[in-house]
């Protein structure tokens, strides 16, 4: 069956299931507040991307998404597959979901995201990405023209330097550890990972993040992924301390690839 007809079949199943459910199940659940928190949020503003007084694009705001959560391959161009080396494919397929560092309250690394909002904060010398969710941490991107130091200690978020190419913020990062996974599926990388992220606010409410992933350790060639973050108008970050009560991870029995 072709991909399109499979998709059509899936759509049919969903619509049919929804119709069946609508006929025979109790009224849909609502939230304790009635309309629900997110329903109270104002509609996303329209218009072009805002600019700072110096004319540069203003990326600041609270965003959601913009990177892989479940499967990094979702961000590939149509028809492309991950150029993963066979030995790393084997490692990936043997991974258990309970061992996902992110599920164990460790950072997502780059370019992974989680389902929580995050904020971009721009200063003349740094750009900060402030994450609510895993793990209530931040990335710092140096904007003062410095280069990556030699012989970096491997870290979860690596060392990031940024510059502007027209209206796009380009962030170059190296110095990663090999501990984080790219997604729930356990898509791997090694310490030779080098990422180049291109942040383009295509309009007021949309931020396209295109990332080139170059990791000769685990992949046969560099590849590009693209994900879109959406503005969360009126939203503020909340406290999220993942380690407070994460005592049930060992109940996760499935393989990472089951996601």
């Amino acid at each position: 069956m072709s991909r399109i007809s499979r998709l059509a079949s899936l759509c049919f199943v969903v619509v049919a299931a929804a119709a069946l459910a609508a006929q025979q199940t109790p009224p849909a659940a609502t939230s304790p507040a009635g309309s629900g928190g997110l329903n109270r949020a104002p509609a996303a503003p329209t218009g072009p991307a805002p600019r700072l007084p110096n004319g540069q694009i203003d990326l600041s705001g609270v965003w959601q998404g913009g990177g892989p959560v479940g499967n990094i391959a979702d961000g590939l161009a149509k028809g492309e597959t991950l150029p993963i080396k066979p030995e790393w494919r084997k490692i990936m397929e043997s991974r258990k979901a309970k061992d996902d560092p992110e599920a164990n309250c460790l950072p997502t690394g780059v370019p992974r995201r989680d389902p929580y909002p995050w904020r971009i904060l721009q200063t003349p010398t740094h750009t900060f990405l402030l994450f609510e969710g895993n793990i209530h941490s931040y990335r710092q991107i140096f904007m003062d023209g410095r280069r990556h130091p030699e012989d970096l200690d491997p870290t979860w978020y690596g060392h990031s330097v940024g510059h502007w190419e027209g209206d796009t913020l380009v962030v170059d990062s190296v110095g990663f550890n090999d501990k984080f996974w790219f997604d729930f599926q356990g898509t791997p990388h090694t310490e030779t990972l080098h990422t180049v992220e291109r942040y383009t606010r295509t309009n007021m409410a949309t931020l396209v993040i295109e990332t080139t992933i170059d990791d000769p350790g685990a992949y046969t060639k560099p590849f590009k992924i693209s994900f879109t973050a959406r503005l969360r108008p009126g939203e503020e970050l909340m406290e999220y301390i993942c380690n407070e009560n994460n005592g049930y991870v060992q109940h996760i029995t499935g393989a990472a690839k089951e996601f």
Binding site: L20, A103, C105, C242
Partner: protein, 137 residues
Amino acid sequence: MRVSVGVLAGLATMVLLARPVVAHHSFAAEYDANKPVTLKGTVSKVEWMNPHARFYVDVKDEKGTTTNWNLELASPNVLVRNGWTRNSLKVGDEVTVEGSRAKDGSNMANARVVKLADGRRVFAGSSGGDAPPPAQK
């Protein structure tokens, strides 16, 4: 109310296709969307903490034996954004929970919908992503 196998299968399909990603871990590796469970009982404990709010329900079977179930919700952050408060569930509340059982066979489940003591059915935020709850009917 009697729910047909077809409806349960349909709902399970929807849950599977929804690709729940609100958790900070894989849903499908921990819970079995093909094992829906409905539990009615009394709330014995509430843990309003990240990364997941949890509550525990004492469920009595027809023989009078009580089993304590451990039920996972979304995070307090997601629940608050969907209109919950830390007082939405209280110890002693009589509730009915619809969810999916843990794959490891323990008395754990992911709560999808909770019927609160006052009769309202509320979206538990666990399996639909960080999306608005279904429209009120």
